[in-house]
């Protein structure tokens, strides 16, 4: 669909991901051996025909800008349209930090007004999934909805009390929305992504901010559903989905994606997921390497044992080293005789000779970026 644009909010800082997000937004979190979380939403938008995508930046956005660059890898480096970064800036009525999604949208009204598309997908970036936004748009038009919310019935995603849950009638209209309940009463989890006419979004953002409503879901949306002032529908996304709101959730997401049948639903040949290139040579499995049940990116040198793990670009596992049930990000170095199990090694971590790092998979340990153990 050509009449669709995207707006990706990366303001959610993922405090509960601890060290992993102390240096980056959740959107910039490395995942699945060679991607960052934002690649999935961005590539889905591109596969759905969007050619104009705004990225709302909040804190720690340098790694995100570095990753996305000119948008070339996503074919978003056009002259007419493409990727637009929307960092916070100071104005007489803005202190340079967005108070919430509606505030961010209001601050970037110029971008929205200048865009040509009739429909806009507004999405958060704390979840990993792929989506056919074109199908979502088709349903939106068919139902005559004002707002269409993306939801999932994936039971894995509900465990967390943080989130929004919706109740639908048979026609798919949203009757109720629950905000961070202790025990969610509805099985439909809102995926923090909605589709709306661009003009209506501009109108709503203007109105909301003038009433000091900065948060879309818990203020504007909940009220509109309750009062019936807007026609809000749900669109079910059947893609596997993960809410990346804790170290454990992040670890499980990587582990789930080790399973080919799940991975194939996310990495589909007909809807490729694009990412920044590093032009690494293929991975070398040196004689003596033992690799089982693992995902690896290019540029690695594997001399030791790797099992059930996700290995990012440029990782070196020396002879005699053992890596099990682990996530090792870019340029990690596991020296001979080291043993790494149940850990998440952030970028450029070195584990020296003979060091043992073991954690239960139910409670993975994170080693911060650039550390030497």
């Amino acid at each position: 669909m050509n009449d669709l644009m995207g707006l990706i909010y990366t303001g959610d800082n993922g405090e509960r991901l601890g060290e992993l997000t102390s240096v980056r937004a959740v959107a910039a979190l490395p995942v699945l051996a060679r991607y960052r979380v934002i690649d999935f939403v961005l590539s889905s938008l591109v596969s759905s025909g969007a050619k104009n995508v705004g990225i709302i930046l909040q804190k720690n956005y340098s790694s995100l800008i570095d990753h996305l660059g000119s948008g070339k890898e996503w074919d978003l480096h056009g002259k007419r349209q493409g990727l637009v970064f929307l960092p916070p800036y100071q104005t007489p009525d803005n202190i340079g930090v967005y108070s919430g999604l509606m505030d961010a949208i209001r601050s970037n009204m110029v971008f929205l007004r200048r865009s040509r598309e009739s429909y806009v997908v507004v999405t958060d970036s704390g979840m990993l999934y792929t989506a056919n936004y074109d199908e979502m748009a088709a349903q939106h038009i068919r139902t005559g909805a004002d707002i269409t919310l993306m939801y999932t019935t994936n039971p894995k995603i509900k465990r967390s009390s943080v989130g929004h849950y919706i109740k639908l009638d048979e026609e798919g209209r949203v009757l109720e929305l629950e905000n961070n309940p202790v025990n969610p009463s509805f099985e439909n989890t809102y995926m923090e992504a909605f589709l709306i006419r661009r003009e209506l979004l501009i109108e709503l953002a203007d109105r909301a901010v003038s009433r000091a409503q900065y948060h879309f879901t818990r203020e504007l949306l909940q009220q509109a559903i309750h009062d019936g002032t807007l026609k809000v529908y749900g669109w079910k996304n059947d893609s596997p989905a993960w809410r990346l709101d804790s170290t454990q959730a992040y670890f499980e997401c990587n582990a789930d994606l080790l399973r080919p049948e799940i991975r194939r639903q996310v990495l589909r040949a007909d809807r490729p997921v694009w990412t920044k290139m590093r032009d690494e040579m293929p991975t070398r499995y040196v004689p003596g390497a033992k690799v089982k049940g693992s995902l690896l990116a290019d540029g690695c040198i594997i001399e030791g044992t790797v099992e059930n793990s996700v290995i990012f670009r440029g990782v070196h596992v020396q002879k005699g080293a053992v890596v099990k049930n682990a996530v090792i990000m870019q340029d990690g170095y596991v020296m001979s005789g080291a043993h790494v199990e149940g850990c998440i090694l952030d970028k450029q971590v070195t584990v020296r000779d003979g060091v043992t790092l073991c954690a239960p998979t139910s409670y993975p340990v994170v080693i911060g970026k650039g550390m030497t153990v």
Binding site: P282, K292, L295, L296
Partner: protein
Amino acid sequence: MIRKKQCVAMLLAGGQGSRLGVLTQHMAKPAVPFGGKYRIIDFPLSNCVNSGIDTVGVLTQYRPLELNAYIGSGAPWDLDVSQGGVYVLPPYHTGATGEWYKGTANAIYQNLPFIQQFDPEYVLILSGDHIYKMDYAAMLRHHIEHKADATIAVRQVPWEEASRFGIMNTDETGRIVEFEEKPKNPKSNNASMGVYVFTWSKLRDYLTRDEKDPNSSNDFGKNIIPAMLNDKCVLTAYSFNDYWKDVGTIDSLWEANMDLLTTPLPIDLHDKKWRIYARNFGSGPQYVADTAEVNDCLVTEGCEVYGRVQHSIISTGTIVEAGAQVIDSVIMPGAVIRRGAIVRRAIVAENAVIEPGAMVGAGEGSIAVVAQNVTVPAGDTVPAGTQREQ
């Protein structure tokens, strides 16, 4: 308005590469996959950009479709720039005349107007059939320092092989005094690599003169270099003795791939300062399953390995099913090796399928080849040294 360039590179990519047999049935030699994720042309193109040369003409003639599509806008090599960039240059009709490229020199001659747009001082002539990392800027400096009209890259080859090459005989200053094409009794072992730097104004004169000679075969080695030597032009040899491998035959292509499995790497492709760029097709990470056994291999993105792979190159998007065996082989992008199939000492070209229980190649003997898009039926055999075309 096109900005003046100091040096323009011209990459001769028109040859059929008939010695590669079925591998070049549907594509020009420079488009042939290499090393898991590359194509041969990635090496000269990456060398150009790493050497600071951002204007490259690629002369195509034989089955250019795959090569054109691969080069595209030049973005993978950062050659999608507004001043310069990569240009695919097929032969074209000019009305009265118009013809195929007759020889290497004629190919450049036909593109005089292309080169002239950039008003360069120097022209670098490259071929698309070698795997090497070379700093052309250093060669260009050598050319300028020696105030040469032409500089020819040479390397020392084993004496017993010297008679297969164009041999440059030099004096003690490195100036070329004699050129012998495939001499029976070589006087030196300095072989030409087919990499030349010319002072453009000189080359232009010689190309124009050569074109008027009906007896000329319009070839750099046979005509242009000898003519320049004859006229006492300054020709210098630039010595290059790093890794350089011709991949013009099935055996040498297989060997060059296998070279990437030696430690230390004879050609360091991990080198961050001299990356070899390639087009990317958005494949996922490589998956090595619980049932897999991967030893002494290169495996790249998009591959799924469930079977046994040993001392082999497994290229982008290849699937090796459980119970399949791949040994001492090069599996090109998108190929599928089904359960129980055995592939030994073979090159399996792009998107070929080896059905269950089929046998390709043998533990010894010459390299077996399965061509692009070919399916080898279940239980069938492709003997060592043979090529399966369909």
